[in-house]
């Protein structure tokens, strides 16, 4: 137990060094540019990015901006606005993630059933990912006002985009995982006269877990990315994606604010993905896997 805590702590060290390094690089470049008037030291020549308060606000300003009000006469601070936006985006992503995971798993089970279906569907699932549905976001949002059958909310369009990005890794890895148990295990179940459903539940699904966990992690990251991008292209307000766009439009007068929203979006992606990754420990057969992982 103690060892695990020490191991965990040791694993954080390089990540911390990395973050400090990135911040140092940004701040160092900025100060160098200010000192040398946007020239490379010694060799001369223009720096690729100009360093002034608009292009590169100081890190301390970005951090301080979190705790100042959003607008001049606004009651909420930037931190509160970013947290609220992230929470909204997280819920949209979660809806898309769950839908996508279910659709992906259903497709995997359908393709498992028949070789013909696998041959017919799998290439199209792969092709589907080269179709940038995100690009259709501006079209999908117009569904909102005009579908009478269901009460279509604009956030559902965003969730739909997240779903589209989510189902793919689950379907592809899920199928590979369901096919992973060795033949003799399947034959053993057959010899017990087990039904297909029993074989699926008792042999194939547990066998698929090590394939599903990384797929779900990928899907979690994709669902956050999908909803943020969806919010931006649709213009759905309330989420952190829209906040980035809104703050970006004020970047000429208030540069640090945009960075606050981007940092918030990044942390949201990291947290959701690692939360889904930690599901791994709850799943059966996880011990085997966690020994294998780095």
């Amino acid at each position: 137990m103690n060892r695990r805590i020490i191991d965990g702590a040791l694993r954080i060290v390089p990540a911390a060094v990395a973050i400090v390094g990135l911040c140092g690089l940004y701040e160092g470049y900025r100060r160098m540019g200010i000192a040398t008037d946007d020239q490379w030291p010694v060799i001369g020549g223009d720096l690729p990015v100009k360093t002034n308060a608009i292009t590169m606000p100081a890190l301390s300003d970005i951090v301080a901006r979190f705790f100042e009000p959003q607008q001049r006469r606004s009651g909420t601070t930037v931190l509160e606005a970013v947290l609220q936006g992230s929470w909204y985006t997280l819920r949209i992503s979660l809806a898309g993630f769950v839908m996508g995971a279910l659709i992906g798993m259903a497709l995997a089970i359908v393709m498992l059933r028949s070789k013909l279906l696998e041959k017919g569907i799998l290439p199209w699932i792969i092709v589907s990912q080269t179709i940038p549905l995100l690009a259709l976001a501006p079209v999908i949002v117009t569904w909102g006002n005009r579908i009478e059958l269901v009460d279509w909310q604009p956030w559902m369009s965003v969730s739909l985009i997240a779903t589209y990005l989510t189902f793919f890794p689950v379907a592809v890895n899920g199928l590979r995982g369901l096919q992973s148990p060795p033949n003799h295990s399947i034959e053993l179940m057959d010899s017990y006269a087990a039904t297909r459903r029993q074989t699926l539940l008792k042999v194939r699904l547990p066998g698929a877990v090590p394939f599903l966990v990384p797929a779900l992690k990928l899907a979690a990251a994709a669902s956050i990315i999908g909803s943020i991008v969806g919010e931006i292209s649709i213009g759905l307000s309330g989420g952190v994606g829209r906040l980035i766009l809104a703050y970006a439009q004020q970047a000429q007068t208030d540069p640090p604010k945009m960075y606050c929203a981007i940092i918030g979006a990044g942390l949201l992606g990291l947290l959701f993905t690692s939360a889904v990754g930690s599901l791994e420990r709850l799943m059966p057969g996880s011990r085997h896997r966690s020994e294998m992982s780095l």
Binding site: V49, I131, L136, V139, W143, I147, L218, I228, Y259, G266
Partner: protein, 261 residues
Amino acid sequence: MTGSRFSDRAATILVPLVFGAVFLGVWEWLVRAFDIKQFLLPSPSSIYTAVGDNWGRIWNGVEVTGGNAVYGLVVGSILAVFASLIASRWGWFSDIVTPIASGMVAVPIVSLAPVFNIWFGSTDPFSRRLVVIVVVFFPVFFNVTKGLTQVDAVHVELMRSQAASQWSVIRRVRIPNALPFLMSALRLASSLAIISAIVAEYFGGTQGSLGQLITQSAGLSRYDTAWAAVLGASAVGIAMFVAVAALEWVAMPWRRQSTGH
């Protein structure tokens, strides 16, 4: 034997084509039979007509947006492969960069587009190309590093026992081991590249790009044109995917046999 292999190969091509044709047919039929409005889902035939009517604009968009995507894919992958080679050689570098890389895969990098627009100017295509480069870099780096480091210990020991140099271990053991990892990363990266190239355009910038054509057409309720532009983007995505598959065929001849599976 040869006959069955031939019919196997024919089936891998024919079956998806038949499924695709059936899918298009059902789509067309649904739109006509239930009189689905164009804003919801235009029929394949009306999208096809829109492609013909707007050929010039779509082709122009494919050149602008596809150019950015291909540029970013190529530059990003090359940078990532170099970084992986360094990471596999010097452990401390990999210790520091790998957590960033695994974290960045979970981060919506396209949200950096407005930052790059401010840094390099929104009219400079490099702002959007840099988004693609960063998006492509991390999955490629992550996978290739895995391929370079997770080699069979026996192979490395054998090379050592033959007094092989570090460089020749890299060339004869690590790089061949990493190739399949590189190829699957490139396949993922090729679809990420076109998506991020389009999304970066939503933050403003160039005229005549696919992203602009899509938003403008949707704004003007020309939905068949918007879908036609998306089709153009898909064509770019599929072309890059096919290019990666061709690269795989050339770079890994020992894999060609196993396509039947």
